[in-house]
């Protein structure tokens, strides 16, 4: 459908968001906590959110792929053996508000992983009930590199409505999808006509490397020494994978007793040493260099070849979160120059 643009004043944006909350929808928005960190959480009023941020610590992927997701409940005793699906109420209608284009474009990667061949019902429910009110970036920093991976700070990919900040503090709202149109139609009175010439504040993100050069080099990099060198300081935690909007590895655990409880899906990461270990003790990726190689090659080679989408959106969260100060941009640049 053709993208239509309207003006949404800051006041009316607040009304729009509060309107969703009043209508009983779950609104997931960026929020600054007492430690000054921005994260997405369920808000009860527009005033709780802080949309003037460069990047949140954790991505917005929890809206469709939460850290802990109930798969089913079970009961197993002499008299009763049954398995119960999660109730529909477990998956509320959700508005994700204030996600940057990097986060919004990551949903396509997650969707492909969770719905190809076998459809993960829990993910599907959440994704179908999710509407994304994206927010294009008016600032960035040295960790951002969306422009190097085929995106940009005002990309509409993954957003149902994309808001862009104007110099006067109001927003241009681009209605991108049918879902976005439904929202717009319900609150038409909050939007004004746009003359198409409003001055948006858009971040400038310089290119850090050329993706086709990286693609060429990485294809033949498996046996190279560069992985050991780059991962010397890696401490083998899960910070980079958990903050990442496209990382989707998970574990399946049972919580409860042998008589009743639930089986859940929870985040996991290939960076942890025990990820691939066999019960026999054999570990196909026994050192951090091999695990670092898996991370990078999966995102920039294996996954793109399979699903035609890069496993990275250039948000830079991994570099910001890494306790050992590893910079993904620097490492990708080094691979390109190998």
């Amino acid at each position: 459908m053709n993208t239509e643009s309207y003006i949404l004043s800051e006041q009316n944006l607040a009304k729009l968001i509060n309107g969703f909350i009043e209508a009983g929808k779950t609104v997931f928005a960026p929020f600054k906590d007492k430690a000054g960190k921005i994260n997405f959480k369920k808000i009860n009023d527009f005033t709780e959110c802080d949309i003037h941020y460069i990047q949140s610590v954790f991505s917005a992927k929890a809206a469709v792929f939460p850290p802990v997701e109930k798969l089913f409940e079970y009961r197993n005793n002499k008299f009763v053996q049954e398995i119960k699906d999660p109730l529909p109420s477990y998956f509320p209608e959700t508005i994700l508000f204030g996600a940057h284009p990097c986060d919004a474009s990551a949903f396509a990667v997650l969707e492909t992983v969770f719905t190809n061949d076998y459809t993960d019902a829990q993910f599907s429910e959440r994704k179908n009930k999710l509407t994304v009110l994206g927010l294009s970036c008016s600032t960035g920093d040295e960790h951002c590199f969306c422009t190097s991976v085929g995106s940009d700070p005002s990309s509409a990919k993954g957003s149902d409505i994309l808001l862009s900040l104007l110099k006067n503090g109001n927003f241009v709202a681009d209605i991108i999808t049918e879902k976005g149109k439904i929202i717009f139609d319900k609150s038409k009175d909050l939007f004004e006509q746009s003359n198409g010439n409003e001055e948006k504040i858009t971040a400038i993100i310089p290119d850090k490397f050329k993706i086709d050069e990286l693609d060429q080099k990485i294809k033949n990099s498996f046996e190279k020494n560069i992985w050991q060198a780059q991962s010397m300081s890696c401490l083998g935690c899960g910070a980079c994978a958990y903050v990442c909007p496209t990382c989707s590895c998970y574990d399946i655990q049972d919580l409860g007793t042998v008589y009743n409880g639930s089986r859940v899906r929870c985040w996991d990461t290939c960076g942890l040493s025990q990820f691939t270990v066999h019960t026999s003790g054999h570990n196909p990726r026994e050192n951090q260099g091999q695990r670092w190689r898996q991370r990078i090659m999966h995102k920039f080679n294996y996954q793109p070849e399979k699903i035609k989408l890069l496993g990275c959106v250039g948000c830079g969260r991994c570099s910001r979160a890494c306790p050992a100060g590893i910079s993904i941009i620097e490492n990708l640049q080094k691979i390109t120059k190998e």
Binding site: D33, A35, G36, K37, N39, V57, F58, P67, V68, E142, H143, Q228, M232, S233, L235, G236, C237, G238, A239, A241, Y242, V243, D251, Q253, L255, V264, C266, W267, L272, S273, Q274, N287, Q288, G289, S319, R320, A321, P323, A324, G325, I326, S327, I329, E330
Partner: protein, 266 residues
Amino acid sequence: MNKIIEVAGEMLTNGEVQLVVGYEKGSNGNERPAFIDAPEACNKLIFDGSCKINLAVYLTKKHIKQKGKIAVIAQKATLASIVTLYTENQIAIENIVALTFDANSNVVKLRNIDEIIEFLKAAGKSSDELDDKIEEIEKMSTEERWNFWQEQFSKCFKCYACRAACPLCYCERCTVDQNQPQWVQVPATKTGNLEWHIMRAMHLAGRCSNCNACSNACPQGIPLNLLTRKLSQEIFKEFKYEPGTAVHQTYALSDFNIKDKENFIK
């Protein structure tokens, strides 16, 4: 700073060490660990107040140990960690030289455990601003304290950056990775998070160097150092022990002494 660069460069040139583990400025302006095996690369080294990572965490890593003799640029907390690692038989001290600055900004080379302990003694105790924060929390009611920590742990995603950054969390298979039995829940639930942090704090009691690496590593800025510092205070109160002050052959929480008080057993 130049002095460290000089000394480190010399040690590599004359073969005294094969690797220097220090700090450098990262491409995004932050400090990060540096692993230098060529003398000319030593000019990357920095050592200032911005250096937060406790480099002792690398002394137990196989891929670092393999390099041979190592010079490590050490802050006081790193030195305390080295003493604890030595006490727990995790490092070969003869393969490590700690480089640090004394009160007169001279580079000091500490080659054995006694030198490290002496140096720490002479440097004296530094005040810890955490103690004020702990006092603040202790003034709260039980309910307020519980809520404070529940709020903090609700931010935790169990990424284990805290564990990864801690030099004393060197177990190849951490308690949380044990599944027979599953002592600590894997998923990041309220219970799972609480279990994890309390368990880690208890495993560090009497061992923690109070380097703050854990809370610095936490992407969410959860003040985990308060938990470990609190337990450090308790261990000092009850057992008069502080890591880095001596090579203790006993460990406060796992050693039974017939003279131990039992007045808390009702």
